[in-house]
Symmetry: C2
């Protein structure tokens, strides 16, 4: 993670690092843990806006826990769908690669265009 990204996240209100007596930033273990968690959220495909929403809810305290949970569950559902979509698209890619193998082997192979029709 670049310092640029760190500043950007800070500007967006996702992180609030500590400051020393000279007003310079330092990151506590908690700060770093929190940033790590943000990266996990990002990694699931959560957008900046969703993360901001989550951070706002968090700032409002314990009575937003169920909302936060719902938000994360939504993200979880979306993420799983995206994974499944990618897997489906990968299957076509796999088939195309196999088809290239066939072409390279000069063996008989179903026309790829015909195969593709199965996905329409």
């Amino acid at each position: 993670m670049s310092p640029y990204t760190l500043r950007y996240y800070e500007r967006e209100g996702l992180i609030i690092p500590q400051r020393d007596k000279n007003d310079r930033r330092y990151y506590t273990k908690q700060d770093i843990g929190w940033i790590g968690f943000l990266l996990h959220l990002k990694g699931t495909g959560m957008s900046m806006n969703e993360i901001k929403k989550y951070v706002e809810l968090r700032a409002q305290g314990d009575n937003t826990i169920s909302q936060r949970k719902e938000l994360l569950q939504q993200v979880q559902t979306n993420s799983l769908s995206r994974i499944n979509e990618m897997k489906m698209h990968l299957e076509v890619l796999n088939h195309k690669i196999d088809w290239y193998e066939g072409k390279l082997d000069h063996s008989i192979s179903e026309e790829f265009a015909d195969y593709l029709k199965r996905f329409e």
Copy 2:
């Protein structure tokens, strides 16, 4: 897929639709099949630049087949890595959701911060 996107792909050289006598576009079954395949490529996470590269190779004929196959294999590898990454990030999300369940149940639960340390 919006007509805007279709024009965009055309400008980028990914598709070359047919034209009628009045110079208006029409898409043959092959065109549509090709667009469908492009969407599968996109769906695996392939970037416009990678797709353009692929299209260029394709335009050069059969002696680029092994290069095209290698390109797709690279995309396949990247896509699988991304899926696995997402799964890992999802595990953390799942745990956080479970932790919220715990909080909501007022039952004892490991501090999430402690759990997160396991990923550092």
